[in-house]
Symmetry: C2
Subunit: 288 residues, 2 copies
Protein backbone atom coordinates (compact mmCIF):
# COMPACT_ATOMS: atom_id res chain seq x y z
CA UNK A 1 0.00 0.00 0.00
CA UNK A 2 1.39 3.44 -0.82
CA UNK A 3 2.17 5.88 1.95
CA UNK A 4 -0.83 8.14 1.38
CA UNK A 5 -3.22 5.17 1.51
CA UNK A 6 -1.57 3.83 4.67
CA UNK A 7 -2.07 7.17 6.38
CA UNK A 8 -5.74 7.53 5.40
CA UNK A 9 -6.43 3.93 6.41
CA UNK A 10 -4.77 4.37 9.82
CA UNK A 11 -6.66 7.62 10.43
CA UNK A 12 -9.91 5.95 9.42
CA UNK A 13 -9.37 3.17 11.97
CA UNK A 14 -8.67 5.72 14.72
CA UNK A 15 -11.73 7.81 13.86
CA UNK A 16 -13.92 4.71 13.53
CA UNK A 17 -13.04 3.76 17.11
CA UNK A 18 -14.03 7.23 18.33
CA UNK A 19 -17.39 7.07 16.52
CA UNK A 20 -18.27 3.53 17.64
CA UNK A 21 -21.83 2.79 18.85
CA UNK A 22 -22.64 4.77 21.98
CA UNK A 23 -20.81 7.91 20.83
CA UNK A 24 -22.77 11.18 20.91
CA UNK A 25 -23.67 11.57 17.20
CA UNK A 26 -22.62 15.20 16.80
CA UNK A 27 -19.27 14.63 18.50
CA UNK A 28 -18.62 11.63 16.26
CA UNK A 29 -19.51 13.70 13.20
CA UNK A 30 -17.28 16.59 14.29
CA UNK A 31 -14.32 14.28 14.90
CA UNK A 32 -14.53 12.85 11.37
CA UNK A 33 -15.08 16.37 9.96
CA UNK A 34 -11.89 17.56 11.68
CA UNK A 35 -9.76 14.76 10.23
CA UNK A 36 -11.22 14.22 6.71
CA UNK A 37 -10.56 15.37 4.07
CA UNK A 38 -7.05 16.27 5.19
CA UNK A 39 -4.44 18.66 3.91
CA UNK A 40 -1.15 17.34 2.51
CA UNK A 41 -0.65 15.11 5.61
CA UNK A 42 2.91 16.43 5.68
CA UNK A 43 3.72 15.28 9.22
CA UNK A 44 2.51 11.65 8.94
CA UNK A 45 4.23 11.39 5.51
CA UNK A 46 7.44 12.50 7.13
CA UNK A 47 6.95 10.01 9.96
CA UNK A 48 6.42 7.11 7.55
CA UNK A 49 9.31 8.24 5.34
CA UNK A 50 11.64 7.96 8.35
CA UNK A 51 10.12 4.64 9.46
CA UNK A 52 10.66 3.24 5.94
CA UNK A 53 14.22 4.59 5.84
CA UNK A 54 14.84 2.72 9.11
CA UNK A 55 13.46 -0.61 7.82
CA UNK A 56 9.78 -0.33 8.87
CA UNK A 57 9.88 -3.74 10.55
CA UNK A 58 6.57 -3.21 12.36
CA UNK A 59 4.25 -1.33 9.97
CA UNK A 60 1.37 -1.32 12.50
CA UNK A 61 3.55 0.66 14.90
CA UNK A 62 4.67 3.10 12.17
CA UNK A 63 1.11 3.61 10.95
CA UNK A 64 -0.02 4.26 14.52
CA UNK A 65 2.76 6.80 15.07
CA UNK A 66 1.91 8.59 11.82
CA UNK A 67 -1.82 8.62 12.58
CA UNK A 68 -1.28 9.80 16.16
CA UNK A 69 0.80 12.74 14.96
CA UNK A 70 -1.82 13.75 12.40
CA UNK A 71 -4.63 13.43 14.97
CA UNK A 72 -2.71 15.75 17.28
CA UNK A 73 -2.13 18.18 14.43
CA UNK A 74 -5.88 18.15 13.67
CA UNK A 75 -6.63 18.69 17.39
CA UNK A 76 -4.36 21.73 17.44
CA UNK A 77 -6.05 23.18 14.33
CA UNK A 78 -9.50 22.76 15.91
CA UNK A 79 -8.47 24.46 19.16
CA UNK A 80 -6.32 27.16 17.51
CA UNK A 81 -9.26 28.14 15.26
CA UNK A 82 -11.54 28.78 18.29
CA UNK A 83 -12.87 32.31 18.80
CA UNK A 84 -10.65 32.75 21.89
CA UNK A 85 -7.52 32.20 19.74
CA UNK A 86 -7.46 32.85 15.96
CA UNK A 87 -11.24 33.04 15.53
CA UNK A 88 -10.80 31.42 12.11
CA UNK A 89 -14.03 30.85 10.17
CA UNK A 90 -12.47 28.58 7.51
CA UNK A 91 -10.04 25.67 7.46
CA UNK A 92 -9.15 23.27 4.63
CA UNK A 93 -11.65 24.95 2.26
CA UNK A 94 -14.66 24.51 4.60
CA UNK A 95 -16.04 26.10 7.77
CA UNK A 96 -13.83 25.47 10.80
CA UNK A 97 -15.14 22.97 13.37
CA UNK A 98 -16.52 25.59 15.76
CA UNK A 99 -18.17 27.42 12.85
CA UNK A 100 -19.86 24.18 11.77
CA UNK A 101 -20.61 22.55 15.16
CA UNK A 102 -20.39 25.34 17.76
CA UNK A 103 -17.69 26.14 20.31
CA UNK A 104 -18.56 23.45 22.92
CA UNK A 105 -18.26 20.60 20.42
CA UNK A 106 -15.08 22.13 18.98
CA UNK A 107 -13.44 22.12 22.42
CA UNK A 108 -14.51 18.51 22.95
CA UNK A 109 -13.47 17.44 19.45
CA UNK A 110 -9.95 18.69 20.12
CA UNK A 111 -9.90 16.89 23.47
CA UNK A 112 -11.17 13.66 21.93
CA UNK A 113 -8.56 13.82 19.15
CA UNK A 114 -5.74 14.20 21.69
CA UNK A 115 -7.00 11.14 23.55
CA UNK A 116 -7.51 9.20 20.30
CA UNK A 117 -3.88 9.86 19.38
CA UNK A 118 -2.56 8.11 22.47
CA UNK A 119 -5.13 5.34 22.20
CA UNK A 120 -3.95 4.81 18.61
CA UNK A 121 -0.34 4.49 19.76
CA UNK A 122 -1.31 1.93 22.40
CA UNK A 123 -3.30 -0.12 19.91
CA UNK A 124 -0.64 0.05 17.19
CA UNK A 125 2.29 -0.89 19.37
CA UNK A 126 0.75 -4.18 20.51
CA UNK A 127 3.45 -6.23 18.76
CA UNK A 128 6.29 -4.04 20.12
CA UNK A 129 5.34 -3.09 23.70
CA UNK A 130 8.91 -2.03 24.39
CA UNK A 131 8.61 0.71 21.73
CA UNK A 132 5.39 2.10 23.15
CA UNK A 133 6.91 3.99 26.10
CA UNK A 134 9.35 5.77 23.78
CA UNK A 135 6.56 6.62 21.31
CA UNK A 136 4.18 7.97 23.96
CA UNK A 137 6.99 10.00 25.56
CA UNK A 138 8.28 11.46 22.27
CA UNK A 139 4.81 12.34 21.02
CA UNK A 140 3.62 13.76 24.36
CA UNK A 141 6.70 15.98 24.59
CA UNK A 142 5.86 17.47 21.19
CA UNK A 143 2.35 18.38 22.26
CA UNK A 144 2.29 19.35 25.93
CA UNK A 145 4.13 21.72 28.22
CA UNK A 146 6.96 22.89 28.46
CA UNK A 147 7.79 22.84 24.75
CA UNK A 148 5.08 21.23 22.64
CA UNK A 149 2.41 22.77 20.43
CA UNK A 150 0.13 23.55 23.39
CA UNK A 151 2.97 25.52 24.98
CA UNK A 152 3.59 27.20 21.62
CA UNK A 153 0.00 28.41 21.53
CA UNK A 154 0.27 29.53 25.18
CA UNK A 155 3.15 31.87 24.31
CA UNK A 156 0.47 34.01 22.64
CA UNK A 157 -0.95 34.70 26.12
CA UNK A 158 2.39 35.92 27.51
CA UNK A 159 3.33 39.59 27.77
CA UNK A 160 6.89 38.81 26.63
CA UNK A 161 7.38 36.19 23.90
CA UNK A 162 10.63 34.50 23.01
CA UNK A 163 10.10 34.25 19.25
CA UNK A 164 12.31 31.23 18.66
CA UNK A 165 10.81 29.31 21.62
CA UNK A 166 7.38 30.23 20.28
CA UNK A 167 7.97 28.99 16.74
CA UNK A 168 9.98 25.95 17.79
CA UNK A 169 7.14 24.89 20.11
CA UNK A 170 4.24 25.85 17.88
CA UNK A 171 5.48 24.30 14.63
CA UNK A 172 8.88 22.69 15.09
CA UNK A 173 7.92 20.35 17.92
CA UNK A 174 5.46 18.26 15.93
CA UNK A 175 7.80 18.06 12.92
CA UNK A 176 10.58 16.86 15.21
CA UNK A 177 8.16 14.34 16.72
CA UNK A 178 7.32 13.10 13.23
CA UNK A 179 10.90 12.12 12.50
CA UNK A 180 11.83 10.75 15.95
CA UNK A 181 8.57 8.80 16.27
CA UNK A 182 9.08 7.33 12.80
CA UNK A 183 12.49 6.05 13.88
CA UNK A 184 11.23 4.79 17.25
CA UNK A 185 8.32 2.97 15.63
CA UNK A 186 10.83 1.10 13.45
CA UNK A 187 13.02 0.25 16.44
CA UNK A 188 15.83 2.66 15.47
CA UNK A 189 17.43 5.15 17.89
CA UNK A 190 15.20 8.21 17.57
CA UNK A 191 17.44 11.12 18.57
CA UNK A 192 19.68 11.26 15.45
CA UNK A 193 16.50 12.05 13.48
CA UNK A 194 15.57 15.09 15.55
CA UNK A 195 17.57 17.67 13.59
CA UNK A 196 15.90 16.70 10.30
CA UNK A 197 12.47 17.30 11.85
CA UNK A 198 13.59 20.63 13.29
CA UNK A 199 14.94 21.87 9.94
CA UNK A 200 11.77 20.86 8.15
CA UNK A 201 9.62 22.45 10.86
CA UNK A 202 11.45 25.73 10.44
CA UNK A 203 11.16 25.48 6.64
CA UNK A 204 7.45 24.81 6.96
CA UNK A 205 7.04 27.84 9.23
CA UNK A 206 8.72 30.09 6.63
CA UNK A 207 6.52 28.61 3.88
CA UNK A 208 3.41 29.15 6.03
CA UNK A 209 4.41 32.77 6.59
CA UNK A 210 4.88 33.18 2.82
CA UNK A 211 1.44 31.71 2.14
CA UNK A 212 -0.11 34.06 4.65
CA UNK A 213 1.49 37.11 3.06
CA UNK A 214 1.47 36.22 -0.64
CA UNK A 215 -1.58 34.05 -1.33
CA UNK A 216 -5.31 34.51 -1.64
CA UNK A 217 -7.83 32.71 0.59
CA UNK A 218 -9.08 30.49 -2.25
CA UNK A 219 -5.65 28.98 -2.70
CA UNK A 220 -4.81 28.20 0.92
CA UNK A 221 -8.30 27.33 2.18
CA UNK A 222 -8.23 29.78 5.09
CA UNK A 223 -8.15 33.58 5.34
CA UNK A 224 -4.86 35.17 4.22
CA UNK A 225 -3.12 38.05 5.96
CA UNK A 226 -4.00 36.71 9.43
CA UNK A 227 -0.55 37.32 10.93
CA UNK A 228 -0.78 41.06 10.21
CA UNK A 229 -4.37 41.16 11.52
CA UNK A 230 -3.40 39.32 14.73
CA UNK A 231 -0.07 41.17 15.14
CA UNK A 232 1.97 37.99 14.89
CA UNK A 233 5.57 37.74 13.69
CA UNK A 234 5.94 36.65 10.04
CA UNK A 235 9.23 35.79 8.29
CA UNK A 236 7.98 36.98 4.89
CA UNK A 237 6.94 40.33 6.30
CA UNK A 238 10.31 40.58 8.05
CA UNK A 239 12.63 39.39 5.23
CA UNK A 240 10.51 40.25 2.19
CA UNK A 241 9.19 37.60 -0.20
CA UNK A 242 12.59 37.06 -1.86
CA UNK A 243 14.41 36.82 1.46
CA UNK A 244 11.89 34.35 2.81
CA UNK A 245 12.12 32.19 -0.34
CA UNK A 246 15.94 32.18 0.02
CA UNK A 247 15.63 31.13 3.63
CA UNK A 248 13.20 28.35 2.72
CA UNK A 249 15.64 27.04 0.07
CA UNK A 250 18.56 27.07 2.52
CA UNK A 251 16.57 25.25 5.21
CA UNK A 252 15.48 22.59 2.72
CA UNK A 253 19.09 21.98 1.66
CA UNK A 254 20.13 21.78 5.30
CA UNK A 255 17.39 19.21 5.96
CA UNK A 256 18.72 16.97 3.17
CA UNK A 257 22.24 17.25 4.60
CA UNK A 258 21.31 16.21 8.13
CA UNK A 259 19.57 12.94 7.18
CA UNK A 260 21.32 10.32 9.36
CA UNK A 261 22.95 7.26 7.79
CA UNK A 262 20.22 4.63 7.27
CA UNK A 263 19.33 1.74 4.93
CA UNK A 264 16.93 3.84 2.84
CA UNK A 265 18.95 7.04 2.49
CA UNK A 266 18.43 7.61 -1.26
CA UNK A 267 14.67 7.09 -0.99
CA UNK A 268 14.14 9.42 1.96
CA UNK A 269 16.25 12.10 0.30
CA UNK A 270 14.04 12.02 -2.80
CA UNK A 271 10.94 11.86 -0.64
CA UNK A 272 11.88 14.93 1.37
CA UNK A 273 12.71 16.88 -1.77
CA UNK A 274 9.23 16.03 -3.10
CA UNK A 275 7.49 16.79 0.18
CA UNK A 276 9.11 20.16 0.73
CA UNK A 277 7.91 21.26 -2.70
CA UNK A 278 4.37 20.81 -1.32
CA UNK A 279 5.10 23.31 1.48
CA UNK A 280 4.36 26.11 -1.03
CA UNK A 281 1.17 26.48 -3.05
CA UNK A 282 1.44 26.36 -6.85
CA UNK A 283 1.55 30.13 -7.27
CA UNK A 284 4.77 30.37 -5.22
CA UNK A 285 6.45 27.11 -6.28
CA UNK A 286 7.79 28.64 -9.49
CA UNK A 287 9.92 31.03 -7.41
CA UNK A 288 11.26 28.47 -4.93
CA UNK B 1 4.53 6.51 52.36
CA UNK B 2 0.78 6.77 52.93
CA UNK B 3 -1.57 6.80 49.97
CA UNK B 4 -2.37 10.52 50.14
CA UNK B 5 1.33 11.42 50.16
CA UNK B 6 2.04 9.05 47.25
CA UNK B 7 -0.68 10.74 45.18
CA UNK B 8 0.48 14.29 45.89
CA UNK B 9 4.11 13.33 45.20
CA UNK B 10 3.22 11.67 41.87
CA UNK B 11 1.13 14.67 40.83
CA UNK B 12 3.93 17.01 41.80
CA UNK B 13 6.39 15.13 39.58
CA UNK B 14 3.95 15.29 36.65
CA UNK B 15 3.32 19.01 37.10
CA UNK B 16 7.02 19.73 37.60
CA UNK B 17 7.73 18.18 34.18
CA UNK B 18 5.09 20.42 32.57
CA UNK B 19 6.53 23.56 34.18
CA UNK B 20 10.18 22.76 33.35
CA UNK B 21 12.44 25.55 32.00
CA UNK B 22 11.19 26.81 28.66
CA UNK B 23 7.50 26.58 29.60
CA UNK B 24 5.38 29.71 29.07
CA UNK B 25 5.18 31.04 32.66
CA UNK B 26 1.41 31.65 32.77
CA UNK B 27 0.62 28.22 31.34
CA UNK B 28 2.93 26.61 33.91
CA UNK B 29 1.23 28.57 36.70
CA UNK B 30 -2.25 27.66 35.45
CA UNK B 31 -1.37 23.95 35.26
CA UNK B 32 -0.22 23.91 38.91
CA UNK B 33 -3.25 26.00 39.92
CA UNK B 34 -5.58 23.45 38.29
CA UNK B 35 -4.03 20.50 40.15
CA UNK B 36 -3.15 21.91 43.60
CA UNK B 37 -4.63 22.05 46.16
CA UNK B 38 -6.84 19.14 45.18
CA UNK B 39 -10.20 17.91 46.38
CA UNK B 40 -10.49 14.53 48.11
CA UNK B 41 -8.51 12.84 45.28
CA UNK B 42 -11.19 10.15 45.31
CA UNK B 43 -10.26 8.59 41.94
CA UNK B 44 -6.50 8.21 42.50
CA UNK B 45 -7.20 6.90 46.03
CA UNK B 46 -9.47 4.27 44.53
CA UNK B 47 -6.82 3.42 41.92
CA UNK B 48 -4.13 2.92 44.55
CA UNK B 49 -6.51 1.00 46.84
CA UNK B 50 -7.06 -1.53 44.03
CA UNK B 51 -3.34 -1.65 43.15
CA UNK B 52 -2.53 -2.37 46.82
CA UNK B 53 -5.26 -5.01 47.01
CA UNK B 54 -3.61 -6.68 43.99
CA UNK B 55 -0.12 -6.69 45.51
CA UNK B 56 1.24 -3.34 44.21
CA UNK B 57 4.40 -5.03 42.88
CA UNK B 58 5.43 -1.97 40.81
CA UNK B 59 4.57 1.13 42.86
CA UNK B 60 5.92 3.50 40.16
CA UNK B 61 3.37 2.12 37.71
CA UNK B 62 0.52 2.38 40.25
CA UNK B 63 1.49 5.93 41.19
CA UNK B 64 1.60 6.88 37.51
CA UNK B 65 -1.84 5.37 36.90
CA UNK B 66 -3.30 7.20 39.91
CA UNK B 67 -1.70 10.50 38.91
CA UNK B 68 -2.77 10.15 35.26
CA UNK B 69 -6.38 9.63 36.29
CA UNK B 70 -6.35 12.66 38.59
CA UNK B 71 -4.71 14.83 35.88
CA UNK B 72 -7.46 13.83 33.47
CA UNK B 73 -10.09 14.59 36.11
CA UNK B 74 -8.52 18.04 36.64
CA UNK B 75 -8.46 18.60 32.85
CA UNK B 76 -12.17 17.81 32.64
CA UNK B 77 -12.95 20.22 35.47
CA UNK B 78 -11.01 23.02 33.74
CA UNK B 79 -12.78 22.50 30.41
CA UNK B 80 -16.24 21.83 31.92
CA UNK B 81 -16.02 25.11 33.86
CA UNK B 82 -15.46 27.14 30.64
CA UNK B 83 -18.04 29.77 29.70
CA UNK B 84 -19.19 27.65 26.74
CA UNK B 85 -20.15 24.80 29.12
CA UNK B 86 -20.99 25.38 32.81
CA UNK B 87 -19.59 28.93 32.99
CA UNK B 88 -18.54 28.17 36.59
CA UNK B 89 -16.78 31.04 38.35
CA UNK B 90 -15.53 28.97 41.31
CA UNK B 91 -13.93 25.54 41.79
CA UNK B 92 -12.33 24.01 44.89
CA UNK B 93 -12.94 27.21 46.92
CA UNK B 94 -11.12 29.51 44.47
CA UNK B 95 -11.76 31.12 41.08
CA UNK B 96 -11.95 28.56 38.27
CA UNK B 97 -8.97 28.45 35.89
CA UNK B 98 -10.60 30.57 33.16
CA UNK B 99 -11.74 33.10 35.79
CA UNK B 100 -8.16 33.40 37.07
CA UNK B 101 -6.17 33.06 33.80
CA UNK B 102 -8.63 33.76 30.97
CA UNK B 103 -10.33 31.40 28.52
CA UNK B 104 -7.37 30.83 26.13
CA UNK B 105 -5.08 29.61 28.91
CA UNK B 106 -7.88 27.50 30.41
CA UNK B 107 -8.36 25.69 27.09
CA UNK B 108 -4.60 25.10 26.84
CA UNK B 109 -4.30 24.05 30.50
CA UNK B 110 -6.88 21.32 29.93
CA UNK B 111 -5.07 20.20 26.77
CA UNK B 112 -1.71 20.15 28.55
CA UNK B 113 -3.13 18.13 31.45
CA UNK B 114 -4.52 15.49 29.07
CA UNK B 115 -1.10 15.17 27.44
CA UNK B 116 0.65 15.14 30.83
CA UNK B 117 -1.52 12.23 31.91
CA UNK B 118 -0.30 10.00 29.08
CA UNK B 119 3.27 11.20 29.49
CA UNK B 120 3.03 10.26 33.17
CA UNK B 121 1.85 6.75 32.28
CA UNK B 122 4.76 6.30 29.85
CA UNK B 123 7.29 7.50 32.41
CA UNK B 124 5.85 5.42 35.25
CA UNK B 125 5.60 2.17 33.37
CA UNK B 126 9.29 2.09 32.46
CA UNK B 127 9.87 -1.03 34.57
CA UNK B 128 6.80 -2.82 33.18
CA UNK B 129 6.55 -1.91 29.47
CA UNK B 130 4.14 -4.78 28.88
CA UNK B 131 1.62 -3.11 31.23
CA UNK B 132 1.80 0.25 29.48
CA UNK B 133 -0.36 -0.61 26.47
CA UNK B 134 -3.15 -1.86 28.76
CA UNK B 135 -2.88 1.24 30.95
CA UNK B 136 -2.94 3.71 28.05
CA UNK B 137 -5.84 1.86 26.44
CA UNK B 138 -7.93 1.63 29.63
CA UNK B 139 -7.34 5.25 30.58
CA UNK B 140 -7.91 6.60 27.05
CA UNK B 141 -11.19 4.70 26.78
CA UNK B 142 -12.40 6.41 29.96
CA UNK B 143 -11.67 9.86 28.61
CA UNK B 144 -12.30 9.98 24.86
CA UNK B 145 -15.08 9.08 22.45
CA UNK B 146 -17.31 6.99 22.29
CA UNK B 147 -17.86 6.55 26.03
CA UNK B 148 -15.36 8.55 28.11
CA UNK B 149 -15.78 11.83 29.98
CA UNK B 150 -15.34 13.92 26.82
CA UNK B 151 -18.22 12.02 25.23
CA UNK B 152 -20.20 12.48 28.45
CA UNK B 153 -19.78 16.24 28.19
CA UNK B 154 -20.67 16.11 24.48
CA UNK B 155 -24.07 14.57 25.29
CA UNK B 156 -24.99 18.04 26.58
CA UNK B 157 -24.78 19.28 22.96
CA UNK B 158 -27.22 16.64 21.68
CA UNK B 159 -30.92 17.30 21.13
CA UNK B 160 -31.80 13.87 22.57
CA UNK B 161 -29.80 12.61 25.56
CA UNK B 162 -29.71 9.04 26.82
CA UNK B 163 -29.49 9.78 30.55
CA UNK B 164 -27.72 6.58 31.57
CA UNK B 165 -25.17 6.84 28.70
CA UNK B 166 -24.61 10.46 29.73
CA UNK B 167 -23.97 9.75 33.41
CA UNK B 168 -22.01 6.56 32.77
CA UNK B 169 -19.70 8.45 30.40
CA UNK B 170 -19.50 11.70 32.33
CA UNK B 171 -18.82 10.25 35.80
CA UNK B 172 -18.79 6.46 35.70
CA UNK B 173 -16.09 6.06 33.07
CA UNK B 174 -13.29 7.62 35.10
CA UNK B 175 -14.28 5.71 38.26
CA UNK B 176 -14.24 2.48 36.26
CA UNK B 177 -10.83 3.47 34.85
CA UNK B 178 -9.57 4.04 38.39
CA UNK B 179 -10.24 0.47 39.44
CA UNK B 180 -9.19 -1.28 36.21
CA UNK B 181 -6.02 0.83 35.88
CA UNK B 182 -5.12 0.11 39.51
CA UNK B 183 -5.34 -3.63 38.78
CA UNK B 184 -3.47 -3.34 35.45
CA UNK B 185 -0.67 -1.31 37.07
CA UNK B 186 -0.20 -4.14 39.59
CA UNK B 187 -0.17 -6.76 36.83
CA UNK B 188 -3.60 -8.20 37.73
CA UNK B 189 -6.39 -8.85 35.18
CA UNK B 190 -8.22 -5.52 35.05
CA UNK B 191 -11.75 -6.44 33.92
CA UNK B 192 -12.99 -8.11 37.13
CA UNK B 193 -12.49 -4.72 38.82
CA UNK B 194 -14.72 -2.81 36.43
CA UNK B 195 -18.02 -3.35 38.25
CA UNK B 196 -16.62 -1.92 41.50
CA UNK B 197 -15.65 1.27 39.70
CA UNK B 198 -19.02 1.51 38.00
CA UNK B 199 -20.93 1.12 41.30
CA UNK B 200 -18.76 3.75 42.96
CA UNK B 201 -19.13 6.09 40.00
CA UNK B 202 -22.90 5.84 40.22
CA UNK B 203 -22.77 6.37 43.98
CA UNK B 204 -20.58 9.42 43.49
CA UNK B 205 -23.01 10.83 40.93
CA UNK B 206 -25.91 10.51 43.41
CA UNK B 207 -23.80 12.15 46.14
CA UNK B 208 -22.85 14.96 43.78
CA UNK B 209 -26.51 15.52 42.93
CA UNK B 210 -27.32 15.63 46.67
CA UNK B 211 -24.56 18.18 47.26
CA UNK B 212 -25.87 20.34 44.45
CA UNK B 213 -29.42 20.32 45.85
CA UNK B 214 -28.82 20.33 49.60
CA UNK B 215 -25.59 22.25 50.31
CA UNK B 216 -24.48 25.83 50.34
CA UNK B 217 -21.66 27.14 48.11
CA UNK B 218 -19.30 27.64 51.07
CA UNK B 219 -19.39 23.96 51.90
CA UNK B 220 -18.83 22.52 48.42
CA UNK B 221 -16.48 25.16 47.01
CA UNK B 222 -18.56 25.84 43.90
CA UNK B 223 -22.01 27.33 43.29
CA UNK B 224 -24.91 25.14 44.49
CA UNK B 225 -28.15 24.60 42.58
CA UNK B 226 -26.35 24.49 39.21
CA UNK B 227 -28.27 21.48 37.87
CA UNK B 228 -31.59 23.31 38.23
CA UNK B 229 -30.08 26.46 36.68
CA UNK B 230 -28.64 24.50 33.73
CA UNK B 231 -31.71 22.24 33.36
CA UNK B 232 -29.70 19.08 34.04
CA UNK B 233 -31.08 15.84 35.49
CA UNK B 234 -30.48 15.42 39.23
CA UNK B 235 -31.18 12.26 41.26
CA UNK B 236 -31.93 14.21 44.45
CA UNK B 237 -34.44 16.42 42.67
CA UNK B 238 -36.00 13.30 41.14
CA UNK B 239 -36.06 10.98 44.18
CA UNK B 240 -36.10 13.55 47.00
CA UNK B 241 -33.29 13.88 49.54
CA UNK B 242 -34.35 10.75 51.46
CA UNK B 243 -34.71 8.69 48.31
CA UNK B 244 -31.32 9.78 47.01
CA UNK B 245 -29.66 8.98 50.36
CA UNK B 246 -31.23 5.50 50.26
CA UNK B 247 -29.93 4.97 46.74
CA UNK B 248 -26.47 6.11 47.77
CA UNK B 249 -26.47 3.61 50.66
CA UNK B 250 -27.58 0.73 48.41
CA UNK B 251 -24.93 1.53 45.79
CA UNK B 252 -22.22 1.65 48.44
CA UNK B 253 -23.27 -1.78 49.81
CA UNK B 254 -23.32 -3.16 46.27
CA UNK B 255 -19.79 -1.81 45.67
CA UNK B 256 -18.50 -3.66 48.73
CA UNK B 257 -20.15 -6.87 47.54
CA UNK B 258 -18.60 -6.81 44.05
CA UNK B 259 -14.97 -6.51 45.20
CA UNK B 260 -13.21 -9.40 43.39
CA UNK B 261 -11.22 -11.99 45.36
CA UNK B 262 -7.73 -10.56 45.96
CA UNK B 263 -4.89 -10.73 48.52
CA UNK B 264 -5.90 -7.48 50.24
CA UNK B 265 -9.67 -7.93 50.41
CA UNK B 266 -10.21 -6.87 54.02
CA UNK B 267 -8.14 -3.73 53.58
CA UNK B 268 -9.81 -2.55 50.40
CA UNK B 269 -13.23 -3.18 51.92
CA UNK B 270 -12.42 -0.90 54.85
CA UNK B 271 -10.82 1.60 52.53
CA UNK B 272 -13.87 1.85 50.30
CA UNK B 273 -16.18 2.22 53.29
CA UNK B 274 -14.02 5.13 54.47
CA UNK B 275 -13.76 6.71 51.01
CA UNK B 276 -17.48 6.60 50.25
CA UNK B 277 -18.15 8.47 53.49
CA UNK B 278 -16.18 11.35 51.92
CA UNK B 279 -18.57 11.46 48.95
CA UNK B 280 -20.93 13.52 51.12
CA UNK B 281 -20.05 16.77 52.89
CA UNK B 282 -20.28 16.85 56.71
CA UNK B 283 -23.78 18.36 56.77
CA UNK B 284 -25.23 15.35 54.92
CA UNK B 285 -23.05 12.58 56.39
CA UNK B 286 -25.22 12.32 59.54
CA UNK B 287 -28.15 11.18 57.39
CA UNK B 288 -26.26 8.70 55.24
Amino acid sequence: MDVGRRIEAALDVAVAHAEAPGAPPLLAEAIRYAVFPGGHRIRPRLCLAVALACGDDDPAASDAAAAAIELLHCASLVHDDLPCFDDAPMRRQKPSVHAAFGVPLAVLTGDALIVAAFETLARGAARSPARLAALVGLVARAVGSPSGIVAGQAWESEPYVDLSEYQQAKTGALFAASTVAGAAAAGAPPLPWRLLGECLGEAYQVADDLRDVACRQEEIGKPAGRDATLGRPNAAALLGKGGALDRLRRLTEEAIEVIPPCPGQAEIRADIEAQTRLFLPASLRAFA
